[in-house]
Assembly symmetry: C2
Homo-oligomer: 213 residues x 2
Amino acid sequence: MSASVQPDLQSTSPFRTAEQREADRAAKRNALLLAAARMFNARGFHATSLDDVAASVGVTKPTIYHYLGNKEQVLIECMTIGLIQLQEAAAAARAEPGTAMERLCSFLRRYAEVNMAEFGQCVIRTGDELLSPEGLEKLRSLKRPIDAAMRSFIVEGIEEGSIVSADPKMLAFTLAGALNWPGRWYRPDAGSPPSEIATAMVDILMQGFAARR
Amino acid sequence: MSASVQPDLQSTSPFRTAEQREADRAAKRNALLLAAARMFNARGFHATSLDDVAASVGVTKPTIYHYLGNKEQVLIECMTIGLIQLQEAAAAARAEPGTAMERLCSFLRRYAEVNMAEFGQCVIRTGDELLSPEGLEKLRSLKRPIDAAMRSFIVEGIEEGSIVSADPKMLAFTLAGALNWPGRWYRPDAGSPPSEIATAMVDILMQGFAARR
DNA sequence: AATGCAATATACTCATGAGTATATAAACTG
DNA sequence: CAGTTTATATACTCATGAGTATATTGCATT
């Protein structure tokens, strides 16, 4: 994209190009966000001080303000990353071949997995109460298309006959609720990996718990 | 229980018996807890000050300390009420006639309803992070029998053939997750009443979303 | 070399809110 | 009535933690 005549430096050179510095900066920013997400998940937003987040990365608080603005911004940024991952999951599922039902399942599995990852957990664990009206509105506008995607898979599936006919809104609430919840209890070390949990839960939701005769 | 020879006073008498005073005290305590639960749900635990809770009932902070101890105690007390309601739901369902599957459904519906009520919402919205180790342990011991009850309905149902054969733990997680989630978004005014939401969700979970052919 | 901007630290300010010491009034007990 | 307990208020203390003012270093651009 850039037409600047930067020679292809040996990667060991101590002189960095503008791109490298840019990347550097992004890497630091991301490291701060990841550290913050982990601590928010572990202790909760209010119980996490920016001093602690900074210290866990080996810097001090003003550095966070330099890269990210205020505390709410940090949280919003973390949640935004999680929500973008969910949007990507929806887009990927939409592009798949097969029935709407298959696309829905595929989306749901990925949805559950994202909710068990650091940034996804932030999304799940952050209640609306914690955000300013502006922040809330920003995040709502990121959540809306995800919910819309889920409902559109459902509506398509009902039309095509692969999904049971039910109120799409209530069905979406139920599925989302079930697959959000692991974001509340999942811990990276213990038990089955997220992909297994996701698969098992989606199977249950698909089949229902009533035995078929 | 008391053998004291209190005459049966006219209820309009300004002189209260020990029982009446006791009841009085309990009523005040409950009013404080309800006010606290509402504010915790509306703003989150950390964002709620005991000054505000007290003011919302027309008293001041020391009164709360008089009736309830410290802030964590207030929260734990609220959650305990919710958890006892869930335990009662389990006991009631266990006593019902019919198949294990029917008892499970009945339990689940009530479970969902409790989660949409004030004290139940407190249970759902309070993450483990917010509690001291001791508080956490106390609540865990109240939660355990509820989870155990759900699993026992499931296991019975599988044995009797009315419930689909699946990992009971994973099935319980999935059902609980789905029915916990309304505690996060339900607002008493808007939309359908809790009983309708509960019924609709349990139906969906029972049948699954895959159309039967 | 001079100037400016990027990155980071130290060392503050300031508000909030949990928890408490103490006073007081009413109600109950003997 | 005297003494004690209960219920409640006023008016503190004190820690924490968000956010900021300011200094420092060093690279970058001319």
